[in-house]
């Protein structure tokens, strides 16, 4: 598994955005992760707690929005949530399909508070 390198990427993105907003603390992170990815929530939390120590994001809560693998049948047009190990159309059994969701791997938003006097004000703040 590669949760450590994923956690490092998340920390880099978080600190960059927190700094540009002039935030002193990051309290929450909102992640959007499709079920096609192999990341395990608890494992990511474990590494997150380790590598966020001593940074403005130390102890921030990770919130996971999991996106199920969603498939569209190219034969009958049905949209459905794929069953594990079986992507076939739940309505007509068709095998000509398109995966329309489930690949997401995003940091959607962070919640911050406090401000550092030296930092420039963020336009959205």
């Amino acid at each position: 598994m590669h949760e450590l390198s994923v956690a490092e990427s998340i920390l880099e993105i978080t600190l960059r955005h927190a700094a540009s907003a002039g935030a002193a603390r990051v309290t929450d992170l909102h992640l959007v992760i499709g079920d096609l990815s192999s990341v395990i929530d608890d494992s990511l939390r474990f590494y997150w707690d380790l590598i966020s120590k001593g940074t403005p994001a130390e102890g921030a809560n990770l919130h996971f929005k999991r996106i199920p693998i969603t498939v569209e049948c190219l034969d009958c047009g049905t949209r459905y949530e794929a069953r594990r190990g079986d992507l076939r159309c739940v309505r007509c059994g068709g095998e000509r399909i398109r995966i329309v969701a489930g690949r997401e791997f995003l940091l959607e938003a962070i919640e911050v508070n406090g401000s550092r006097p030296a930092a420039q004000a963020d336009a959205r703040g």
Binding site: H2, S9, I13, I69, F105, E108, A109
Partner: protein
């Protein structure tokens, strides 16, 4: 004063940006490159050995070997006549764009025709990390079973070509080729597929011909 900051940034964007830089370097050197992925034991190194032996006299090949800790695979590639660079990932389960960048630094890219990158043996993680190579190739093998596309959809989805290795074992193992191919077709319709055996050499010609054609196209800037 709590505040929510919308970000919506791909978690692996930094890797993707580096992969694009790797690609630009490879394009600049007109060096055709492939990222070879597979589970352990599928035959990545055997395929590289066969490729180096067959093409080594006419084309200049280099191999970047990703391995958790040993140089066994790099030694095999070198013995087959390829210039081999070893990347020990130190336990990481995949190669990423930074690791490939380091390997590219050690090669005279302009003096090569084909670069083969052997990823870490793993059917899950390498699929998530772009390296910047021209093509991604998945090596499946008959003894692994025909259920792999159903169990590891992400690995089968993003690749440009599929090698089905060890087809000489088909009479001896229960591998339903029809079921396997149907699973692949759902994820990656029309995927270029090379059934072959690195042991007997059957089917290798089509694979080699594809490599040579692609390498020539990149060399000529097509």
């Amino acid at each position: 004063m709590a505040q929510r900051i919308e970000i919506v940034e791909g978690i692996l964007n930094a890797n993707d940006r580096l992969a694009a830089q790797n690609r630009a370097r490879l394009e600049g050197a007109r060096l055709f490159s492939i990222n070879i992925m597979a589970s352990p034991g599928a035959g990545k190194t055997s395929l590289i050995e066969q490729t180096a032996r067959s093409l080594g006299s006419t084309l200049r090949l280099a191999v970047v070997e990703g391995d958790l800790a040993t140089s066994l695979d790099a030694d095999r590639a070198a013995a087959a006549g390829a210039r081999a660079i070893q990347i020990n990932t130190g336990g990481e389960c995949h190669l990423d764009a930074v690791m490939l960048q380091g390997a590219l630094d050690q090669l005279d890219l302009a003096s090569l025709d084909i670069l083969l990158v052997e990823n870490v043996g793993n059917l899950v993680c390498p699929a998530a990390f772009r390296l910047g190579t021209h093509k991604s190739v998945l090596v499946a093998s008959v003894p692994e079973g025909d259920d792999k596309p159903y169990k590891y959809p992400a690995s089968y989805q993003g690749v440009d070509a599929l090698v089905i290795n060890k087809v000489d074992l088909l009479p001896y193992v229960s591998f339903d080729m029809e079921r396997f191919r149907r699973g692949v077709a759902m994820l990656n319709p029309g995927l270029l597929t090379f059934p072959l055996s690195c042991q007997t050499g059957q089917g290798l010609e089509a694979w080699l011909e594809w490599l040579v054609t692609e390498a020539r196209a990149v060399r000529q800037g097509i």
